[in-house]
């Protein structure tokens, strides 16, 4: 297993290289450049744009610029933001905790609740509960998160005033619950779509397992119903659920852009949008590498979980 993990980690390097080449190429082929992005359409700019292009190295051929960038990255220098001058590592790094927190909480909520609802739905197939959950799940999957964010703000922030409207914390607040209260709405809204998807997949997967012969055997042995459901049925139904949950990671990362904007959550999604608008290539490349690494790691974790959950799966 260790060799498998090492092999997978080593395989990520050429994959990241390929991703970086594709991302760098397409970024630079897009119309406009970082210097024109600095020109406010309303008021223009006093910058000497040609001199700035020269200074930023934008006049060099694309392969040379990529090689220069790669050489610095290998040395651990991801460069400086074109717009603020801050190191890219710092620009991204200060936003990682907020994004990881939001994603983790949303993922935990959606996974735990989604599995629970899916199991309940499967156990009570064709009941009012099952149909109700199906309809609600379809609704949550179909309606964009922006709508739920507005509803949440209207009900909980404006009408009931139970929860704060925006931000990650109230400046200067010493209430230990202040930050968790700020987290509830954005994490809740972000988790809805994933929760619905997880519930549906869990239900479907459980139904495949519940009526198999070994389940009949387990019941016939007189095992408690909870044990039969959780240890025998759910464990065997877990493989597709692991796949769905691991695939949620990049979706949550992308979907967080809307939620971060609605609730003013200082995450990487907002930084990505800003960097795209500003053509801040160093920051965009840093974000691309980070996101790609995250997806590759989550796939690796999913593969390892398969082996843990299903003893029949072994990696050479």
């Amino acid at each position: 297993m260790s060799l498998y993990v090492i092999r997978r980690i080593l395989l990520t390097l050429p994959m990241l290289l390929g991703i970086s080449i594709i991302a760098f190429t397409f970024m630079n082929l897009a119309p406009g450049d970082p210097v024109t992005a600095m020109i406010d359409p309303q008021q223009g700019t006093g910058l000497d744009t040609e001199a700035l292009r020269e200074r930023l190295g934008l006049k060099q051929p694309l392969p040379i610029r990529y090689a220069t960038w790669l050489g610095e990255v290998v040395r651990g220098n991801f460069g400086f933001s074109y717009t603020t001058g801050q190191p890219v590592v710092r620009r991204i790094g200060e936003r990682i905790p907020a994004t990881v927190e939001l994603m983790t909480v949303a993922l935990v909520i959606s996974t735990v609740l989604g599995c629970a609802l899916g199991i309940g739905s499967a156990l009570h197939r064709y009941s009012a509960w099952d149909y109700g959950l199906t309809i609600v799940s379809m609704f949550w999957l179909s309606v964009p998160a922006y709508f739920f964010a507005l509803i949440g703000l209207y009900i909980f922030a404006l009408k009931l005033q139970w929860l704060p409207t925006f931000g990650i914390a109230t400046p200067g607040a010493d209430n230990p619950l202040d930050h968790p209260l700020h987290l509830i709405l954005p994490a809740g809204v972000l988790s809805l779509e994933a929760l619905a998807a997880t519930a549906r997949y869990t239900r479907s997967s459980m139904l495949d397992v519940l009526y198999q012969d070994f389940m009949t055997t387990a019941r016939a042995k007189g095992l408690p119903a909870r044990l039969v459901t959780m240890r025998h049925a759910f464990r065997n139904a877990l493989l597709p659920v692991i796949t769905v949950v691991s695939l949620r990671v990049p979706v949550l990362l992308g979907g967080a852009v809307v939620i971060e904007s609605m609730f003013q959550w200082p995450g990487m999604g907002t930084l990505a949008i800003l960097s795209i608008q500003q053509r801040d290539y160093p920051v965009l490349m840093g974000l691309t590498l980070m996101t790609a690494s995250l997806v590759l790691v989550s796939n690796l974790v999913a593969d390892l979980l398969y082996a843990y959950v299903d003893p029949r799966i072994r990696y050479a």
Partner: protein, 598 residues
């Protein structure tokens, strides 16, 4: 649970589907409350004194006299929470481009002079100025009490350092060309000299700026935030932008000290008890960032923020949203003229735009009054010129009142090809109102025989097309009149400027230069009024209207130059226009005099 029959399932599905449809059709804007929102408790404005009438400053456009209760007695202490609708990226004064950054700098730093509240003149901040009678030099005597937040005195060396760095091309300064009016500034920027000959330190409290030529223009440049040489003097100019000073820990000499900047969240400032003009009335200012208009609306209604500071477009400007603000007893609205106007531009490099009758026809073809009243909720004013600066006091000779008959006549006389299709390039629409406005203009141009296709380009692509490649046909874009007419004309209309419209000629260059070199404000005024007449006649770039800047304040806020009305009108159109058009940078003026009630 019992299994459901198919009939039950169909009934449930119908009910559920209907509920979902109703929910989906719910307006995104929260409905008007049926009861008063539970905002922070406020007291009604003090009614002890008789209502006062605020007189407009000289030369200002007539505004409705505001018969209002005076502001509450000056309070001290408390925290002001302005709302920013955009991220605070950095506080580098050489590369700042947004109101967010300028407001921060106005609080943390000092400048030699600052625009007056009515934007008609520059007035003393860090220094008193003495100008040579012909405008060939300016001598500044610094306030001896002025200190940086670390206790070091503000000296002439700091001023010299700041202006020298503003002329250094390695700092990416956006004032390079503007400050080239300082003697030797251009040579220094080009790397031909090691210092700027025209910046002369006379003694620790006195500095003189000599000009390349006599001009009254330099005073406009005295709003630059003064940086501490003892902290930044050892940093290479190219590395200045990367310093933590420019992000987290600026040290200025302003009324407030930087405490903490949280990315995309807030910027906290604390009062500077040693401020040279007296301790600020507030204990602190906490700028909070809320980019989403609906969240900003809720935050204002709940009292989580005190007012929307920058940019004003951070709130929803739809008429019903503004009426909702006015319905809240704890809020009041201020409407100010906006330096940004909506414009329709041309490319005079193209032969069919070169006849001014064609351009005049376009101006006559657009029913601006109707668009403002029916689509913009009446909160815009018609403008006919970029010469909107209060001290220029320019009145356009022709206001191009809607006249489609005259428009068609002019086009016919000019030999316009009525089969021609013209592409109008704009940046993406930001609202339904904006889209409706564009559609209205397109229809009105079509009615006089000008067929247009509208394309939306991403901002940097649009900027390249208009400012660099000049490959546009027509443009529809908001544009600002800049803080001074000279800056506007240099940028947009000179041969060696961006010259987006392609209107520059040697004669017009000479006229613009005459305004730059005029030694007094009166002399400059005459030049700019003449330029205003020429642009009004030739219409190389049609200035359509200016959407007012709308600011929503919590009644607990006391502002030195704004008086809260005792009662709110029903619609934003009925809110009187306050003050003169504020040129950039921000109108956020004298933050040390602001107050909040507990």
């Amino acid at each position: 649970m019992d299994k459901l029959t198919r009939r039950n399932l169909l009934e449930l599905s119908l009910v559920g589907g209907g509920a979902a449809l109703l929910a989906a059709c719910t307006s995104a804007t929260p409905a008007a409350p049926t009861s008063a929102p539970a905002a922070k408790p406020t007291t009604a404005p003090a009614a002890a004194a008789a209502p006062t009438t605020s007189a407009p400053p000289p030369g200002a456009p007539a505004t409705a006299a505001s018969t209002t209760a005076p502001p509450a007695a000056s309070a001290t202490g408390g925290s002001l929470t302005p709302l920013w609708g955009a991220t605070f990226a950095h506080t580098n004064p050489f590369t700042s481009v947004s109101n967010v950054q300028w407001q921060y700098q106005a609080s943390v730093f000092s400048s030699l002079l600052t625009p007056s509240a009515d934007k008609t003149k520059m007035e003393s901040e860090l220094a008193e100025v003495t100008s040579a009678p012909d405008g060939s030099s300016y001598t500044f005597k610094l306030n001896p009490k002025a200190k940086f937040h670390d206790g070091q005195p503000v000296t002439a060396d700091d001023v010299a350092y700041t202006y020298t760095m503003a002329l250094n091309k390695d700092t990416k300064s956006n004032r390079l060309s503007r400050l080239s009016i300082i003697k030797g500034g251009g040579d220094y920027s080009a790397g031909k000299t090691d210092s700027v000959a025209g910046i002369v330190v006379i003694d620790p409290q006195t500095i003189r700026f000599d000009m390349e030529f006599p001009t009254a223009l330099f005073l406009v440049e005295t709003d630059l935030a003064i940086l501490p040489k003892h902290i930044l003097g050892g940093v290479a100019p190219a590395d200045l932008e990367k310093q933590p000073f420019m992000f987290d820990s600026p040290v200025g000499s302003g009324p407030f000290k930087a405490v903490k900047n949280l990315t995309d969240q807030s910027s906290e400032l604390a009062a500077n008890a040693d401020f040279y003009r007296g301790k600020p009335k507030l204990d602190k200012i906490v700028f909070r960032i809320v980019k989403q208009a609906d969240a900003a609306q809720i935050a204002l209604e709940r009292g989580e923020v005190d007012f929307n500071a920058a940019p004003s477009g951070s709130i929803n400007l739809a008429p019903d949203a503004l009426s909702r603000f006015l319905a809240q007893p704890n809020l009041f609205m201020v409407k100010m003229p906006n330096p940004v106007s909506q414009t329709l531009g041309f490319n005079l490099r193209t032969d069919y735009w070169q006849d001014k009758r064609v351009r005049q026809a376009m101006a006559y073809a657009i029913d601006r009054r109707k668009i403002i009243d029916s689509l913009l909720g009446g909160i815009a004013e018609i403008v006919n010129s970029p010469m909107r600066h209060p001290w220029v006091a320019y009145k356009p000779k022709n206001d191009y009142t809607y006249d489609p008959g005259k428009a068609k006549q002019l086009l016919t006389e000019a030999g316009w090809d009525f089969n021609r299709q013209v592409t109008v390039s704009s940046i993406p629409s930001t609202s339904e109102t904006d889209r409706a406005t564009r559609a209205a203009i397109q229809a009105q141009l079509e009615s006089i025989g000008v067929k247009t296709t509208w394309e939306e380009l991403e901002a940097s692509v649009w900027a390249k097309k208009f400012y660099e490649d000049h490959t546009h046909e027509m443009v529809y874009i908001p544009a600002t009149n800049f803080i001074d007419p000279a800056l506007f004309l240099d940028f947009h209309y000179k041969s060696d400027g961006r010259n987006g419209p392609g209107y520059a000629t040697a004669d017009f260059d000479a006229l613009i230069e005459k305004g730059r070199r005029a030694p007094s404000q009166d002399a400059r005024r005459a030049v700019y009024q003449s330029i205003g007449d020429q642009l009004n006649e030739d219409q190389p770039w049609i200035w359509l209207w200016s959407l007012a800047d709308i600011y929503v304040f919590n009644r607990r806020v006391g502002i030195p130059f704004i008086t809260a009305p005792s009662a709110n009108p029903k619609t934003a159109a009925d809110v009187p226009l306050t003050g003169n058009v504020q040129a950039l940078p921000t109108w956020f003026f004298r933050p040390e005099e602001w107050t909040v009630k507990a």
